[in-house]
Subunit: 471 residues, 2 copies
């Protein structure tokens, strides 16, 4: 395996003809910007890449037709287009490494329709996960997928995102029912239906979910919703070690407990969260859990999990009794990434995203922690451990080449072990630029070649977010 460094891969800017920019300005007026600040803002994300190239122009799309017209012009002039939501990618998805333009869909933020009888909602791609939930809450419904950032549904669909509820409710893969997609020549593709299942031909919905903007730009997304559970209880439980906490998680999953959330924070992360969110959680390894169901069902789950936690030296449960306390706890969890960044001022994070079969999780996490302790690099550890997914964040000084190389070396070792254990280099963040080298190792040449063949067939001029996922 070659180590994929987080230095930017070779930038090979493609030609952006002035006539193309003129045509964009004629079509979009002030909704096409070439202002330096706007371009810079659309050429970066939350990844650790530095000195990133900005797009030549940014189109603020306000409708499907806007996206179609921008892509048609790009297709005509063979110019790369990169869709942009809120810029919360962690893997370099938004960086214009071959030049081109950014299509910002954040103004396409309309909830188009809510169907409370069928538990579905159709939204534009710029709607954020929090906005979806705000729109459906008064119907007694919720949308469970919650990456750390308040990402857009378009971006979450494009990266096959998940979050804290995936252990019970699945990921974007399970929760996107249908898509409207603008393809490489500006055509409008519709995939899926509002039915709960279908065997009608190739599953284009699932091909598009996780395609990271390389096969099309989403303009409408139909999501599955869930009734708000009758009873919800959240609790934290501290453990003497990360290993104990993970072993408890393994038992919870293997027993088939329908736990809704099962999150790990190590003591360092809890300390960062305490400082950032003004909490006073015990600064040990901790599971943050949530239970959904009927009052009796929740009671049963809790009893089972308390027994399991006790077997693994867990402390007593601390309850987040009120909805407010619960919201505060989960907001703190969602801010863990930013809290950790603040724990080392000026740092950037190189984040791992491995996901392993649950039986291999304790070993994977323990080795990762031992390794980072040995080299004394600042870090944090959080994980959607119910899924076998955990994030080491190596907090490096962006000016230190040595730290960057060290972090990438650890990342590399961690991923190699995860793949060896039957797992994946990315549970939820996607490949982007940062994990391209890992994909080759994980999926193998036949699979990556098949992905490239599909890309070539569907985007023959390679204008849709080129250079992402694979070179």
């Amino acid at each position: 395996m070659t180590v994929q460094l987080s230095e930017l891969p070779e930038v090979r800017l493609r030609d952006v003809p002035p006539a193309f920019i003129d045509a964009l300005k004629a079509r979009f007026g002030s909704n096409c910007s070439t202002a330096e600040a706007v371009r810079a803002q659309h050429g970066r994300d939350e990844s650790a890449f530095t000195h990133v190239p900005a797009p030549t122009a940014v189109v603020f799309a306000e409708s499907r037709q806007d996206v179609c017209d921008a892509v048609k012009l790009a297709h005509q002039y063979r110019v790369p287009v990169i869709p942009f939501g809120v810029g919360s990618s962690l893997e370099g998805h938004l960086l214009a490494i071959e030049g081109g333009i950014s299509i910002d869909v954040s103004r396409m933020d309309r909830v188009i329709s809510i169907n409370n009888e069928d538990l579905t909602v159709t939204v534009q791609p710029g709607v954020t996960r929090e906005a979806v939930n705000a729109a459906v809450r008064d119907q007694g419904l919720f949308f469970p997928i919650d990456p750390g950032a308040n990402a857009t549904i378009g971006g979450m669909s494009a990266t096959r995102a998940s979050g804290t509820n995936a252990v019970r409710y699945g990921t974007m893969k399970e929760n996107v029912l249908a898509l409207e997609v603008v393809t490489s020549d500006g055509s409008v593709l519709r995939t899926g239906s509002r039915a709960r299942k279908s065997s009608a031909g190739y599953d284009l919905t699932r091909l598009m979910v996780g395609s990271e903007g390389t096969l099309g730009i989403f303009t409408e997304i139909t999501l599955r919703l869930y009734p708000l559970p009758e009873a919800v209880m959240a609790a934290t439980c501290s453990f003497p070690s990360v290993q104990d906490a993970v072993k408890a998680t393994q038992d919870i999953i293997q027993m088939g407990v329908p736990i809704a959330r099962c999150e790990l924070l190590d003591g360092i992360s809890v300390a960062a969260v305490n400082a950032y969110s003004k909490l006073s959680l015990p600064e040990d390894a901790m599971l943050l859990m949530e239970f959904h169901g009927s009052p009796n069902g929740v009671k049963e789950q809790i009893e089972t999990v308390q027994d399991i936690a006790a077997e693994h030296h867990g402390a007593d449960f601390q309850w987040a009794e009120t909805p407010e306390a619960r919201t505060k706890l989960w907001a703190a969890r969602h801010h863990a990434f930013f809290a950790a960044l603040q724990s080392r001022p000026g740092c950037v994070a190189i984040t791992t995203d491995a996901c392993v079969p649950i039986s291999r999780l304790a070993e994977a996490v323990t080795q990762a922690v031992d390794e980072v302790h040995a080299v004394k690099l600042p870090y944090f550890l959080v994980g959607h451990v119910g899924d076998g997914n955990f994030h080491m964040g190596y907090l490096i000084d962006p000016a230190s080449e040595a730290e960057r190389e060290l972090a990438e070396q650890l990342n590399h070792q961690l991923v190699a072990r995860a793949i060896e254990a039957g797992g994946t280099c990315t549970g939820e963040h996607g490949i982007g630029l940062h994990k391209r080298g890992f994909l080759e190792v994980e999926a193998g040449t036949v699979a990556v070649n098949m992905m490239k063949t599909i890309k070539q067939a569907l985007d023959p001029h390679n204008i849709l977010n080129p250079g992402k996922i694979f070179q």
Copy 2:
């Protein structure tokens, strides 16, 4: 919409060079058969097509290498290959409408590994769903997907099958974790991993699941398993009308009850099932239900569902108290298709497979029943109504062109309404030959063209089950 008749589409046999058959015989010896009876058996399925063309030869594959070698020869000679499991397709998937050979994988029936800690099992494609369950039961695990027939896992993966448990456990889409696939040039593709989720590149697993043998032949399949529930209760409940039963189902789903099975049979189907399986169920519209969970959880679900059933004029629940009674009940349900066939000796069934958003289900089912009553065609009605999926089976005399046309006309009207309602022409059987015309209407030209582009890119000589899904 053009009416897609169940007459066989034009047969355009492609050249099968004698040198190719000689090469197969040299490689496979007696595992390559050209016997008339063997060929005929591999050229038909459970669909209503008559006068079907048989493959020129049948290769009985016993290993991945066998499949690779057969496909490599077919690739070299540009000869179609059709994978074959137990022949339970309802839609003409197995018919050699362009000639070629059948690759029978039923001897690849080994359960390769069971991982009870990770709740996964890896099997060869010829393993049947019942064999999977027999293999994992003593570990306290089960595999929930159960189409009517005791189909192979290979065939179920290829058609994105589901069955009675999908309302709770999902379909093959959700339950295939990883695949090994022989592609059109005989290469071996591996997709997915044993991790519960991944964002690593295009979701080739989901592209392959439901591809009906047109993109590759599966040689290994890794499935998700579930712990056997602590408590299981099964019950039947009769209703004065199909509409009442469906409306009760809508309420059950909309309330978020985690019901494990929710099956509809109309009175005609119950009568056929009684005769076939020697039962004495009341011959009215009926829901067959099953509840999984903890003892208290099951109790709560039952109380909720009993209240809902009562609101829709449901009779008292009849319990299948013992495991034996439960097994007998569900075996009877699984035999409903064959029971219905026997209710009109000599008939064949033209089966619909529409699936609609749950809010539109009562209307869809009621209109279908009214229509078939109006024309007085023998029929049966069963449905995985918790998913919005129902099957009308029109029991026609295969010698009567008039009945065949009438049945297809009803099928056509039913599907047109389902698509109009936001649903799909096939919830679980796949497109095959029979529903190709419907796919075009449902998915639209852009989507079908994209499917064809992918097919062309991945199978440039069109040797993998040609003519299925689309022409």
